[in-house]
């Protein structure tokens, strides 16, 4: 009794604060979930190495910030430039990692029409190789990031402070997600992706270059994943194993929204971020990672196709 | 009461906006060789899939009555339960377990209705051994019956088309069904194999006492075997009757428009 009443009163107090944190996390999950969903759309595969794409983006932008900021306090103009550069470099690193991954771990198997299990194993191998490689090259300890901006409170909602960090995440995230949505819906390349997702055979007969489309899918998903890595690392820094948990959550988010469905990934990401954030009011914080898993198993039991249903072709 | 094996009442099956079966009503008597014909896309395989539990029609009822008079409602049942009730099938594009031998393929059918038995299997208990002996014997008999004894240790993938068809029939029969659903058994076989197949299907009914429900494009085979036919077009039953009646039915000829006057046999090409 008292457990719930007391927790509910905390919840009431912290509602807005938790909501802000949840939305910010949710945006990051959504950006990672997009990568899962897009690859799933064209290959019908869960890209197990997506966590390392996220890590790649985080490390690249970490070193960039180290070079640019290097312990100084950036001015407002500098902050804007640094964030933009961080997004670009993180995204490019993610895209590059994704492209390499597709080339090395997927394409040779695709060439000989390997069974599905082979792709999963190869991707797991790639994931383990990559993060341990980062661990070897950059050390196995947590490194804190030089923040590209001062994390002041910008304004408050109902008494809950909203810091610069949350605003940056939401702005960058919204720009990324909207442009991706538009790109897939409107551009010729985007149409190619949708065509392959719907029916690869017909698409290839219609002159869509399957290999290039698949690479492009990895690159787009990788870019968003890399940017997410950058945003995620700003407050907590980087460590070689950092990709695992957020990626597992992002995958849960993709399933929650309906895997293969772009907008589903966004909805799933936001929802998961918020649910997870609110759960802190009820459970001990150490169990926060359990929430995403519980959501995943529940969705799979109750509605395995997710909220919006699975389908990349129709989503955009 | 008529001793019906299958009673299909007003079955409608949709995929999104596409109506695959539209208010289909038909029945099969016990011991009958019944054929379902119709142009490509008429819904024949969808009907098979509905009869075996692969698809779940949105409307209507499908009742299967076994030899003891027990009635099963098929709709909503999973395929393995329909199989356990006594319905066996083959597939349009043959689906053997191609990495296994002919013998193993049939044996899987022969032993699939037994209980779990993992513990017995691990310890190789006497009951498991007895089971193995029994399934082996049943498998040998069936391979003999379909004439594949000499190829029993061959990998299924290396069999030719006619042999694959016979293997599929043997495998389905191994589950000891009361009715065998054959989805275009003659597809891809040569004329000699077709004759053998016709003979085999008739023997299945006469010697093993298994009713036959047949989808086939080859009219020669259908007319030689079937005692009664249903004609499907665009998901609806447009005609039924004996082979002679069907041949003379103007609606059927209409459905097969473009067929020459040698009749609907042209369709098989």
């Amino acid at each position: 009794m008292s457990y719930f009443t007391s927790h509910f009163s905390t919840f009431g107090h912290e509602f807005w604060g938790l909501l802000v944190g949840g939305v910010a996390n949710g945006v990051v999950y959504a950006m990672v979930a997009i990568g899962y969903t897009m690859v799933y759309g064209v290959l019908r595969l869960i890209n197990f190495a997506h966590s390392e794409i996220f890590t790649s983006g985080a490390f690249a932008s970490f070193f960039l910030m180290k070079a640019l900021v290097g312990g100084s306090t950036p001015t407002a103009t500098e902050s804007v430039i640094y964030v933009i550069l961080g997004v670009l470099v993180g995204g490019l690193a993610g895209a590059l990692a994704a492209l390499a991954l597709e080339r090395v771990a997927y394409r040779p198997l695709r060439r000989r029409n390997a069974p599905k299990l082979a792709y999963l194993i190869s991707a797991i191998g790639a994931s383990y190789f990559l993060f341990n490689f980062y661990g070897k090259e950059f050390g196995r300890i947590n490194l804190s990031m030089d923040a590209p901006f001062t994390n002041n409170t910008v304004f408050t909602i109902f008494g809950a402070p909203v810091q610069m960090y949350y605003i940056v995440i939401v702005i960058v995230g919204v720009i990324m997600l909207v442009s991706l949505d538009r790109f897939v819906a409107k551009s010729k390349l985007g149409r190619g992706i949708r065509a392959v997702a719907q029916d690869a055979e017909t698409a290839s007969l219609m002159g869509v270059n399957i290999d290039r489309t698949i690479s492009l899918t990895f690159v787009l998903g990788g870019f968003l994943g890399g940017v997410a890595g950058f945003l995620f690392a700003i407050p907590i820094g980087v460590v070689y194993t950092m990709g695992f948990t957020p990626a597992l959550k992002a995958f849960s988010a993709a399933v929650l929204g309906g895997i293969g469905n772009l907008r589903g990934a966004v909805i799933g990401g936001l929802l998961l971020g918020i649910v997870e954030s609110f759960s802190v009011a009820f459970f001990d914080g150490v169990y926060i990672d359990v929430v995403a898993f519980a959501v995943l198993v529940l969705v799979l039991m109750v509605r395995p196709t997710g909220i919006l249903g699975e389908r990349l072709g129709r989503s955009a | 009461m008529v001793d019906n094996l299958f009673d299909v009442q007003n079955v409608t099956l949709r995929f999104g906006g596409v109506v695959s079966l539209n208010d289909v009503t038909l029945s099969q008597k016990r011991g009958e060789i019944l054929a379902i014909i119709g142009p490509n896309g008429a819904g024949k395989t969808s009907l098979f899939n509905s009869l075996t539990g692969v698809y779940t029609p949105q409307q209507g009822s499908i009742t299967f009555t076994d030899a003891k008079g027990k009635r099963y409602s098929v709709i909503g049942k999973k395929p393995y339960r329909v199989s356990a009730a006594g319905v066996a099938r083959t597939f349009q594009a043959s689906r053997m377990f191609s990495a296994m031998t002919t013998f193993e393929n049939v044996k899987i059918g022969a032993e699939s209705h037994r209980g779990l038995g993992a513990v017995g299997a691990m310890l190789k208990g006497p009951a498991t051994r007895r089971d193995e002996v029994r399934s082996d014997a049943a498998t040998r008999d069936l391979l003999e019956f379909v004439g594949l004894t000499s190829q029993s240790n061959v990998i299924a993938a290396s069999l030719n088309y006619g042999a694959r068809r016979r293997l599929e029939i043997a495998r389905a029969l191994a589950t000891r069904p009361q009715v065998l659903l054959l989805d275009e058994p003659a597809a891809g076989t040569n004329p000699a194999e077709k004759n053998d197949l016709t003979e085999l299907i008739r023997r299945v009914r006469d010697e093993m006492n298994v009713s036959i429900l047949l989808i086939e494009h080859d009219m020669k085979l259908v007319m030689a075997l079937a005692e009664r036919l249903y004609v499907l077009n665009f998901g609806s039953v447009i005609a039924q009757g004996t082979p002679e009646e069907i041949r003379a039915n103007p609606a059927v000829i209409e459905a097969y428009l473009g067929a020459s006057d040698t009749g609907i046999a042209e369709e098989s090409k």
């Binding site: 595969l45 197990f48 090395v104 771990a105 198997l109 695709r110 029409n113 390997a114 069974p115 599905k116 299990l117 792709y119 999963l120 194993i121 797991i124 191998g125 383990y128 190789f129 990559l130 341990n132 070897k136 090259e137 950059f138 392959v196 055979e201 695992f244 169990y287 990672d289 359990v290 898993f293 198993v297 799979l300 039991m301 | 995929f15 695959s20 490509n40 819904g43 969808s46 999973k78 393995y80 199989s83 099938r89 349009q92 377990f97 191609s98 990495a99 296994m100 193993e104 899987i108 779990l116 993992a118 691990m122 310890l123 498991t128 193995e132 399934s135 990998i155 993938a157 389905a172 589950t175």
Partner: protein, 464 residues
């Protein structure tokens, strides 16, 4: 100008150089975050001995190694061709060798041949402690080779026989180990019925508990596509870790417990205590490996094993024959879980402690590597794969060469997984069925649902 890169030979050489550079960096010195390039530059500039002849910078050593390797490959190709020619020209010796090779293949394919192979392995196992007498070697062999092989044989049922990817295998292993601690009264929470059981009693408890978890987790997940299982089990492994780490009152939290008693027998006059020296545990584990080999081998060749193959090959056809796929998948999953739980008992009672870090997810991947490397579905392959890889791991722990850092183990294992999938997906000693499946899928014989759908997944089957 760019056309030159399209050329076959150029591509090959460029690929080889890239791989060489990668290996150079992989085996190079440990870098760090404050000087992110130090690992890379050190890989080139540090000195490394070339077979003890001289010690140039690493990149020169590697270039020389590459040269030697390519000469060897060329020589192998040449001699293979010469060998072919000799065979064709009918040299008597060549024919004799060829027929001997065919004979070996034949013996291996026959049942008696297989059994004598197993017998040889068992004999080797029995005499191994006489050959390797060092205590630390023996301890490592028990903990890192024998127990890992035991686990790999269990995972092989799940991944090899039933074709399911279980990445949370370690969770069941942890359940087994914690159950051992619980049953023997080593945890903060009181043991079942308040009795401190003999360690042997942990075995049935562990098997039943692990199996129960397997069934509960398996039923909702195994209904769905195979890759969901992989990710759910991955999450489950992590969850078990979090709980073990945080439920202080039950599991002892991050410090776990070190109060587990050795396995022991007290039956009237019969008294025996395993422990102190590694040998008794070694033989006990060996006995269980042989037992597992026997029961899982009969399982493979039973009705159940055939049903798994049928489901792996064509689930729709299998179901049309009355096989309920979910039932058999859950069964495989539960058997795998039970054997991992069992292995957990062995480990816990030998090391006497359980702590959460023992059960990191990497552990599952390590076991998976053994199964993949040896050959999915091939019991002999899994044993040999386990011997080779874990033997190598132990060797690297006992006498590490300068270039090897034990922390990099998973980097190498990850790379190995990719290489295996690209070049030898059926493994070192493939099971014959698997090999057929792989080759048939790849030549397009088998049904398309075995393939990765690069195409419509919701296409209505066949005819609509």
């Amino acid at each position: 100008m760019l056309r030159v890169f399209q050329h076959h030979m150029v591509k090959r050489v460029a690929g080889a150089i890239l791989i060489g550079l990668l290996v150079l960096v992989m085996t190079g010195p440990q870098g760090n975050g404050s000087e992110p390039t130090s690992g890379f530059t050190g890989s080139f500039s540090e000195h490394m001995s070339f077979f003890g002849f001289f010690t140039p910078p690493r990149w020169i050593t590697f270039a020389l190694l590459a040269l030697v390797l390519s000469l060897l490959v060329m020589f192998a190709k040449y001699s293979h061709r010469a060998w072919r020619r000799a065979q064709e020209s009918g040299a008597a010796a060549a024919r004799a060798v060829a027929s001997a090779a065919a004979r070996v293949k034949y013996v291996r394919s026959r049942r008696s041949g297989r059994y004598s192979g197993y017998a040889l392995l068992v004999l080797l196992g029995i005499f191994l402690p006489r050959i390797i007498t060092s205590q630390s070697w023996q301890t490592n062999i028990v903990q890192l080779v024998a127990v890992y092989i035991l686990l790999a044989i269990g995972l092989n049922v799940v991944t090899g026989f039933a074709g399911l990817l279980d990445l949370g295998f370690v969770a069941f292993y942890a359940i087994g180990a914690y159950t051992t601690a619980w049953v023997t009264g080593a945890l903060p929470t009181s043991p079942p019925f308040g009795i401190h059981f003999n360690t042997f009693f942990a075995i049935p408890f562990a098997i039943i508990l692990a199996m129960a978890f397997g069934v509960v987790l398996g039923i909702p997940t195994l209904r769905l596509r195979g890759d969901y299982l992989a990710i759910v089990t991955l999450g489950f492994g992590e969850i078990i870790f979090i709980f073990a780490n945080n439920l202080y009152g039950i599991t002892g939290g991050s410090t776990g417990t070190n109060q587990i008693p050795y396995l022991s027998v007290h039956l009237g006059p019969l008294k025996y205590l395993w422990g102190l020296t590694p040998q008794p545990y070694y033989y006990l584990t060996l006995a269980f490996i042989v037992l597992f080999l026997m029961i899982f081998s009969s399982l493979e060749h039973s009705r159940v094993g055939r049903a798994w193959v049928a489901i792996r090959e064509d689930e729709v056809a299998a179901e049309s024959l009355g096989i309920y796929p979910l039932k058999y998948k859950v069964m495989a999953f539960a058997i795998g879980a039970a054997s991992a739980g069992f292995a957990g008992v062995i480990t816990a009672s030998q090391t006497l402690f359980v702590t959460p870090p023992t059960f990191s997810l990497s552990f599952s991947i390590n076991i998976l590597v053994l199964v993949i490397f040896g050959g999915m579905g091939s019991i002999a392959g899994v044993v040999v794969g386990g011997l080779v890889i874990q033997g190598f791991v132990v060797y690297m722990i006992q006498s590490p060469p300068a270039w090897y850092n034990p922390a990099d183990l998973y980097m190498y294992l990850g790379a190995l997984l990719i290489v295996m999938m690209i070049f030898r997906p059926a493994g070192l000693l493939p099971s014959r069925r698997r090999l057929r499946e792989v080759t048939q899928v790849e030549s397009g014989v088998a049904r398309d649902q075995m393939l990765t759908h690069i195409g419509p997944h919701n296409r209505v089957e066949e005819e609509l």
